[in-house]
């Protein structure tokens, strides 16, 4: 009898343990198609549906700017594949950022974040700069960071979300947790439903014959696009959960050649700004080309208006600026990538390439309710 009771007790305990265990993994369903690797996730910020939910509210909350005028979404609009359509972005206090807002789609797969920072490998580290930075001021919360934790504690919606997202924290209302949640939300914005993806999955009708020809051109040694824009995310700076060797690439694509010295404009020297090494002048990350048809204007400074002009730039093997402060022939830059050599391209081939690049657009990203503004009901 006593033994039976003990066994019952053990079983009850096990059942209880199972319930607790089953509740514990508040995991995140990536909804990735077969064969695509899940993104790398830092051990100290595991993906949780609850964290993504909290991050979604914070991403769209203008109270995360010093003067209440902008949120993360101001420069990262879902309708433009999370870019802002501007050549260079505008901060909350009116300061012009020297660089173009990058798409956040598949940022989870970026081995390095932003245009030319070799140090930024995690969204959690990157998010601090737009929030708190002062050169330029973006969201303008520098020196006011305590207000972000206070915001989480200030209203029922955030209190509930934060307690659920960080159940082990006695006081979950912190800047650290806000950053983790925003990073989790941005990490959740993944895209694999373009016509190109459907084509790869066996739907051969998903690409037009023109786009198919464009694909062959894109992956040809003649044009060399894929050397920098290769892999499933169309950039050589890609990482994921199963990565064994880290890939990080920065390239000078011949946009500028000031005074024939190879120099770039002073506020946009690329990797050189971080390293001070001459060889790094004008080296920027090759951005992912997913949804590229929606992310005009192009380049780190938004200095090329259309994709067609981008193709002409690469066909020439560098940009010629004939007058003004940025005059110079980028084709002759001593720091230019070995893959930017120029090529002949017929009008028909240009159309083929543009059709292929348009086939990298995942329309579902633009409307998917997982990433819409929760303040709009």
């Amino acid at each position: 009898m006593k033994r039976a009771l003990t066994i019952t007790g053990v079983l009850a305990g096990l059942a209880f343990a199972c319930i607790v265990y089953r509740q514990e993994p508040d995991t995140y369903a990536w909804q990735l198609p077969e064969g695509y690797p899940p993104p790398f996730v830092p051990a100290d910020n595991p993906m949780r549906a609850s964290r993504v939910a909290l991050g979604r509210w914070l991403f769209y909350d203008t109270r995360l700017s010093g003067n209440g005028t902008m949120s993360c979404a101001t420069c990262h609009l879902q309708s433009l594949a999370f870019t802002d359509g501007r050549a260079t972005s505008l901060g909350s206090t009116g300061m012009v950022h020297p660089r173009n807002a990058m798409s956040l789609v598949n940022a989870a797969y970026a081995s390095r974040l932003t245009w030319a920072n070799p140090l930024l490998a995690r969204l959690e580290d990157q998010a601090l700069t737009p929030l708190l930075g002062d050169r330029p001021v973006e969201m303008g919360m520098g020196g006011r960071e305590a207000e972000i934790g206070a915001l989480l504690a200030s209203e029922e919606n955030y209190r509930t979300l934060a307690r659920s997202a960080f159940p082990d924290d006695e006081d979950p209302f912190s800047l650290l947790n806000a950053i983790r949640a925003i990073a989790a939300f941005v990490r959740s914005i993944v895209s694999y439903d373009s016509p190109y993806d459907r084509y790869l999955a066996g739907d051969l009708g998903a690409l037009s014959s023109s786009a198919e020809k464009g694909m062959d051109l894109f992956f040809s040694e003649r044009l060399e696009c894929f050397h920098c824009h290769g892999g499933f995310n169309f950039t050589d700076s890609t990482t994921h959960a199963n990565t064994t060797v880290e890939q990080v690439g920065f390239h000078n694509n011949g946009l500028y050649n000031l005074e024939a010295s190879g120099a770039y404009p002073a506020d946009n020297t690329g990797l050189f700004d971080m390293t001070g090494q001459e060889r790094d002048m004008g080296r920027f990350k090759a951005p992912s080309l997913r949804n590229v048809a929606l992310t005009a204007p192009y380049m780190h400074d938004g200095s090329i208006a259309t994709l067609d002009e981008v193709l002409l730039h690469y066909a020439r093997g560098g940009r010629l600026i004939t007058e003004g402060p940025y005059a110079g022939d980028g084709r002759l830059s001593p720091f230019k990538s070995e893959f930017v050599n120029g090529f002949e391209l017929s009008d028909e081939e240009r159309t083929n390439l543009l059709d292929f690049l348009a086939a990298l657009t995942d329309e579902s990203v633009l409307t998917n309710e997982r990433w819409t503004d929760p303040f709009v009901r």
Binding site: T114, N117, P118, L119, L120, A121, R122, D125, Q126, L128, T129, L132, G133, D134, R135, G142, G143, E145, A146, S174, L175, L176, I179, A266, T269, F272, D273, M274, T275, G276, Q277
Partner: protein, 271 residues
């Protein structure tokens, strides 16, 4: 953090007194270092006509006092939970008012602790945060290393020094910190330009002297009347950094070690 500092600072004097009752044996002599900001030797404030302060905050570490025999005595910095931790102190000489609008109301002009001797005639300290603590996560750091305004998220590490001056229509500011760092944020292996400044002041006595920071010496070539606002973010290619770096005794662009002792001319003894 700002508000908490403001509220709690008045208690620190009492705290030091209380600690002294318990610990001020001859081997624990209290030492207070007092900092003051000037422009060409004249006091500089945020609220001023003409040249005014816009920012002055900096980290002080590895503080050593030198006695009359030339023997060095390290300052055992007290822990106050706000301005001093782990041998690092944040000095903040702006009050967030007027031209210092981007600053914080809390101020701290002192670095305090104890030494094992008395009767000093020299001072040495590092302007900067030691490498190990410089590249840890600022969101989990203890005060004063939790101050986001002092952290350089995109370069990794802290702004060792934020300093700025302005006139009605002109201005210049400097952010000094390590550059050319390698690795990734929170996993930095080293920095080509550490940009830590070794300050050595001979003839300094903490009982009679203060430490003056003369911003006119930091910005010797800045014309504050030409209407061209300037700045230096320690970038290796920023021409505007050349003079401030020289004034701090730092090589510009290719620095590999702390500056040679005493070569800076910005920090001075003020009687």
């Amino acid at each position: 953090m700002g508000a908490a500092k403001w509220a709690r600072r008045p208690a620190s004097g009492f705290l030091i007194f209380a600690l002294c009752v318990a610990a001020c044996t001859p081997n624990h002599v209290p030492v207070n270092l007092e900092f003051v900001v000037t422009w060409q030797g004249q006091p500089l404030r945020c609220n001023e006509t003409g040249i005014r302060l816009t920012d002055l905050r900096f980290y002080v570490s590895s503080v050593t006092l030198i006695d009359s025999n030339g023997i060095e005595h390290g300052l055992e910095m007290s822990e106050d939970g706000l301005w001093q931790h782990s041998g690092i102190a944040l000095v903040d000489l702006e009050n967030g008012e007027a031209a210092c609008v981007n600053g914080s109301p809390a101020m701290n002009s002192q670095v305090s602790g104890t030494t094992t001797a008395a009767g000093f005639s020299g001072l040495r300290f590092v302007l900067g945060v030691p490498f190990d603590l410089n590249h840890a996560n600022p969101l989990t750091a203890q005060p004063p290393l939790d101050d986001a305004a002092m952290h350089w998220h995109w370069r990794s590490g802290y702004k060792f020094l934020r300093a700025g001056v302005a006139t009605e229509s002109d201005g210049f500011w400097l952010h000094l910190g390590s550059t050319g760092c390698e690795g990734t944020v929170q996993n930095i292996s080293g920095c080509r330009s550490p940009n830590r400044v070794l300050v050595e002041l001979s003839g300094f006595s903490p009982t009679t002297d203060r430490i003056e920071i003369d911003l006119a010496a930091l910005f010797p070539d800045v014309d504050l009347n030409d209407g061209r606002r300037g700045d230096c973010s320690s970038g290796p290619a920023e021409a505007s950094c050349a003079e401030p770096f020289r004034a701090l005794g730092l090589e510009f662009g290719n620095n590999t070690a702390a500056s040679p002792p005493g070569s800076q001319g910005v920090f001075r003894v003020r009687r």
